[in-house]
Symmetry: C2
Subunit: 133 residues, 2 copies
């Protein structure tokens, strides 16, 4: 049976409050201050991933795993996500075009995409504006 502890509550709150972001352990730790240790954080994240409350993926830009809060209501497991390489923001892609693209890959290329394991990298609108000046 799982115990409810204040460490776990703080961790899930931070992830929830920042669900438009995805953060690596260091960043989460910074937000945690000294209330939770590194070991506990990693163990909690592992657990949360097993419970499908968060998703872990490796970000090559930061050379670390990042953790994304999965909103159950938003059905994050069944759509693709866009991750901005510049600001780190995460965008949820629910649209017909995405669905039809994936069925095209399934039908015509016989490849079955795992949306949960795929992350589309690039540059978001505001970052592209900043870059242009």
């Amino acid at each position: 049976m799982e115990y409810k502890t204040k460490q776990k509550e703080i961790i899930i709150k931070i992830l929830k409050d920042n669900n438009e972001l995805s953060m690596n352990a260091k960043e989460i730790l910074a937000k945690l201050g000294s209330s939770v240790s590194k070991a506990t954080l990693y163990r909690a994240l592992e657990r949360l991933e097993e419970e499908n409350k968060i998703r872990r993926f490796y970000n090559e830009v930061t050379s670390s795993y990042e953790y994304q809060y999965l909103d159950a209501n938003d059905k994050c497991s069944s759509h693709l996500h866009l991750k901005c390489n510049s600001c780190g923001k995460l965008f949820h892609l629910h649209c017909e075009e995405s669905d039809s693209f994936l069925s095209h890959i399934a039908h015509d290329h016989s490849f079955f995409v795992s949306q949960n394991e795929t992350m589309i990298y690039g540059i978001c609108k505001s970052c592209s504006i900043v870059k242009r000046g």
Copy 2:
């Protein structure tokens, strides 16, 4: 100026010969036998990536970087790739649907996908058949 050494030649040959695969350093090292050291391999891979002869991406399944030979004729930088989570095979996606999906993301979501940094994970045809029995 860059010197031509037998170590580099062996490394690029192995990558070329296995271009339908992507391998991590350990796997490449295994194929190299004792002819090239780990340090030299990593340095060569870094260099080859700068020269756009190979592409590096992190594979979460093996928790390591994998290296993909980029066929210059195939213009790998300008199309998406599909990576099978089961057999590790890599598929090149050149099709209209991919292009129109990416322009949809650019126009309607104002997000500019970096094809070079994105990998689409899933299960390929033959692996899905095996799985079903």
